[in-house]
Symmetry: C2
């Protein structure tokens, strides 16, 4: 049997222990598939004594992740500590500098420092792989960099945060407000210590930035992702959208347009009967459009011990097999600086507004839309008892600029109560 591929495992949380379990359970299977054994040599974590539900006594212990990363007896650093800086970054940089490959599940690290890390890896003749950082167990990085390698990608659309999708799904099925479901999720332990990473769309935004870089061969720019979380999604809009045949999803969209690279993570409407609309609970789904292959949809668990460790180990098996694709699918020097698109591509929009119940009110709003060049596809006025009438409008495809002009003009009509809600309808 050839020499084993030797891992240094930094981090023994959920994902790290998942990796330990797979290596212990599937040693023979992995050796057969990879053509050589994969072994864990040394580990590190914050607390050595904690009971973790897996036997790590056979592995050398390091207190310091950087010392682990630079051990002579490891070939690959598996970094599952997390966090965009601190020990995760230090260990990753140290590993690359000392000629190790790196496999990581760390979306924040890659989204913020990916270009620099890819350059360091290549300077050392190594690579840094991060299948587990995006959409958990779904092999989406492999599908993009390898399975669709002969395609120019037009658009990537996905639901990539299970917590947000759980909250939105639960709001719809139980008819509960965001605040109520948020508290419910907190008490069930579904939320991170800092829940704004999830519900604020940051975590999903990190993933989208990585997907965009790989899909379009561009330098990763997380700060160019237009992010809006789900905190302001009203149960009323979920209900009314359903009535029109749509579902509200925290949707990531990356597309290359004539006016630059568009990256958005925001609540959008999608048809209820589309694969994205059908997605409930914690499942993730990524849809990729390639010029030759058409639309490819990948769906699976977006988080959790088993799925995330499965993706980490897929990268490890690749390295054991001698597969060393560059971090973002292209050599770092070939990654382009795409100008960010100033506004999103035209789309239909869902508008909810409230009108005073007077003759001609609807006509004034319709006129404001028409004057801004926004045409109406469907409009519904709901039965009401109060002197104010809820009105729902689905527009034809329009620019966000035109829509904003129309919404600004609503105030001057004197018939609109409060601020209208506008949600993009993504065509999927």
């Amino acid at each position: 049997m050839p020499e084993p591929l030797r891992l240094g495992l930094a981090g023994l949380g959920t994902v790290g222990i998942g990796v330990v379990k797979i290596v212990q359970r599937h040693g023979a299977l992995i050796a057969a598939r990879a053509g050589r054994p994969v072994s864990i040599v040394a580990v590190t974590a914050r607390d050595r004594r904690r009971n973790r539900g897996a036997d790590i006594s056979a592995y050398a212990w390091e207190d310091d992740p950087v010392r682990l990363a630079t051990r002579r007896d490891i070939d690959v650093l598996v970094e599952v500590i997390g966090g965009s800086d601190g020990p995760a970054r230090a260990a990753t940089e140290a590993a690359l500098a000392s000629g190790k490959d790196v496999v990581t599940a760390n979306k924040a690290l890659l989204a913020l420092h990916g270009q620099g890390l890819a350059e360091r890896a290549e300077a050392a003749g190594r690579t840094i792989r991060f299948e587990a950082a995006v959409a958990g167990g779904i092999p989406v990085m492999k599908a993009l960099t390898e399975g669709m390698a002969a395609n120019a990608v037009g658009r990537v659309v996905g639901v990539m945060n299970g917590t947000c999708n759980y909250i939105l799904t639960r709001m719809e099925s139980a008819g509960l407000s965001y605040a109520t479901v948020f508290e419910e999720a907190r008490s069930l332990g579904y939320l991170e210590a800092d829940p704004t990473l999830d519900v604020g769309g940051i975590d999903a935004g990190h993933k989208l930035a990585l997907l965009a870089a790989v899909a379009f061969g561009t330098r990763v720019h997380f700060e160019q992702v237009a992010i809006e979380g789900i905190e302001r999604v009203a149960i009323e809009d979920i209900r009314l959208a359903a009535d029109m045949g749509y579902r509200v999803k925290l949707l990531g969209v990356a597309q290359m347009t004539g006016r630059g690279l568009e990256q958005r993570m925001s609540p959008c409407l999608v048809p209820a009967d589309s694969p994205l609309g059908q997605l409930s609970g914690g499942t993730n789904l990524v849809m990729i459009e390639g010029d030759s292959v058409g639309q490819i949809v990948l769906r699976g668990a977006g988080a959790g011990e088993g799925p995330t460790a499965s993706a980490v180990m897929a990268d490890v098996v690749d390295l054991a097999r001698g597969i060393r694709v560059p971090a973002f699918g292209l050599p770092a020097r070939l990654l382009a600086e795409a100008p960010p698109a100033v506004q999103p591509a035209p789309a239909p929009y869902y508008l909810r507004t409230t009108l005073v119940d007077k003759p001609g009110a609807l006509a004034k709003v319709a006129a404001a839309l028409g004057d801004a060049g926004v045409s109406i596809d469907r409009m519904r006025q709901y039965r009401h008892e109060a002197p104010e009438a809820p009105v729902l409008i689905v527009t034809h495809k329009t620019t966000r600029d035109a829509l904003d002009h129309a919404l600004a003009a609503f105030a001057a009509t004197g018939v609109v109560v409060g601020t209208p809600v506008a949600l993009r309808i993504e065509q999927v």
Copy 2:
């Protein structure tokens, strides 16, 4: 720039011309991603003079596929001639013998001769890759052999023949019989010259045999796939299944059970609201269950010039990058001989039968089921005018043996008219 990877292209039909177009359109993109250019050096096809809608004048022409396959100036044979024997097989064997890698879209060739070809490839230090042979553009082979490399696979389920799925979808949506839709599809040019390859489940059976071998690390045995086509699916069953919340699909299922490897391609019922149930028209979908990752669903175009050529080129780019995974994911000598399962795993079944309209008729049928150990989940008797009553039964999970005993006993009840229809309900 490093040396190009040089292709010999055997076959200039739909897929071959798709490959030519991608190489011509995306030369720079592919070179950047692969780290070296990919060039077509020589081509072969039956008729040199035919107009193919692509300029092939820059490539050397060979009349004989074997001569093409053994040219000194090619590194890879791309075989898209098709057919399990004849020139496709001869060229593939010749290419391997002369030290070339082979990329093929040929499911019949691999399903019937895969083990031998994998052994020949390894003896020559080469590989034979066939992403395009299964589910067209969907990178399912890559997902299984690499993306899920650290998982033990439990089951693979898929819809892998677009023609059959189109026919079944159209029967349901238009309420037409199989014969009518078949003729419609023929006149639209959707059918192959020999349509039984599609509607008889052979083509999809080839794909399932390949999926099973890769999923379970077993030798490919197409002759062990239990195949039933869609020719006998009645519109009545499509309608009644829909009434119970199911759709009829030509479903491929491969699973490793305690009693051996089960491989089936047959019309089954799936929940109408599942990803498989939602699948309409020519789209393919493959669902894979891994012990760590859980359920992964891959969906996309299963055929056509662009999608199939995209998959061929993914294998080519892998080779250009130096990625050379064994044909079935494991070295050929490690592929196991799994005993075929004698009967399928237990499942619920859909039964449609017709009873004479006499008191006690239903009770006799229910008793026949109960005596065989088959318990009833739901039963519906439909309103009728004739003296014969259509009855629909959904059983609880049962073995096929027990069900067959019950069906045999139906005849002896004296109240059953004709032969009952039994369709497996696959849990997905």
